[in-house]
Amino acid sequence: MFKHHLRIPAKTEYLSLIRSTLKNLLEREKWALRDIHPVILAVDEALTNIMEHAASQNKEEPVHIIFHLTPRYFFVSIRHKGKPFNPKPVSKQEVQARLQKRQRGGYGLYLMHTLMDTISYRTTPQGNELVMKKVWRKR
C-alpha cells in the first residue's frame, strides 16, 4: 500500500495541485483513466466544501490530506480544524429540486456520495476528519 500525506492552506487555488497529484498517484498504481476521474472529482468536491464553508474563517489553517492507494483500493482522509461539516447524503430528489429552483450550490455532496463507496465523518477535540473510500471493480 502506498501512503501520501499533503498539507495545504484552505484555499481553492490549491485544488488543481491536489487533482494533479492524485491523478499522478493513481496512474502510478495503474488505475484506468475512467476510474481516476470520479475519485478526483469526489476529492475536489470534499475539499471545496471544507475550504468554502468549514474552514472559511482561517484560510491559513492547514488542511491535511492523506491518500492510501493500492491498485484496487483508494482511501482518503481529510482533516481540518475549522467548523464541523457533516457531509450527509443528498437525495436525487433534492438535487432535482435545486435544479428546478436554479440554485447554484449544493450539488457537491451528491456527487461525493454518488462517486464514492463510503463516506464517514467525525469530530474530535483535535479537529474534524472526513474519510472517503472507493474500491476498484472489474468491469
Binding site: E13, L99, L111
Partner: protein
C-alpha cells in the same frame, strides 16, 4: 484536469447576427469559476444573450462550474437568448449526466448545428 481555465471568445456571424462562442480550455472548478462568471457577465452587459460554449478543450468541471451555468440560463432565455453547449469532453459530460443537468441545456456536436437549430426556432416563434 489540473490546468488553469482559459477562455477564448470567438465571434461568429450567422444570418447577419454576431454570436460569441466562448471556447473553454483546462479546468473549471471553485477557484476558476469566477473567471468564467466575469466572461459571461461581460457578454450579457454587451447585450449578447445567445452564448455558445465550446467545451472541446475543457477537461474537467466540478459542481461549482455547473452551478454557475445554472445561474445564468433563465436570464438568457427570458431575453430570447440561450446557453448552447458544444463539443463536450466525456469527463465533463458524465458530470452533466450525474447531476441531471443534461436535461436543462441544449447540446450540439458543432457550433454550426447549434446556430442552425437556434435561429430556425427563433424564426418559428416570430
Amino acid at each position: 484536469m489540473s490546468k488553469e481555465l482559459s477562455i477564448e471568445t470567438i465571434h461568429k456571424i450567422h444570418d447577419g447576427k454576431t454570436v460569441p462562442v466562448l471556447c473553454l480550455a483546462g479546468s473549471l472548478d471553485a477557484h476558476t469559476v469566477t473567471k468564467l462568471e466575469e466572461a459571461i457577465v461581460g457578454r450579457i452587459t454587451e447585450g449578447q444573450y445567445l452564448l455558445v460554449f465550446d467545451l472541446s478543450r475543457l477537461e474537467y468541471v466540478s459542481s461549482a462550474g455547473m452551478g454557475l451555468l445554472i445561474g445564468f440560463v433563465d436570464e438568457l432565455r427570458h431575453k430570447e437568448g440561450d446557453m448552447i453547449i458544444t463539443h463536450v469532453h466525456p469527463n465533463v459530460w458524465k458530470v452533466f449526466q450525474i447531476l441531471g443537468f443534461d436535461k436543462l441545456f441544449v447540446f450540439f456536436d458543432t457550433t454550426e448545428a447549434a446556430f442552425a437549430c437556434h435561429f430556425k426556432t427563433q424564426k418559428g416563434l416570430s
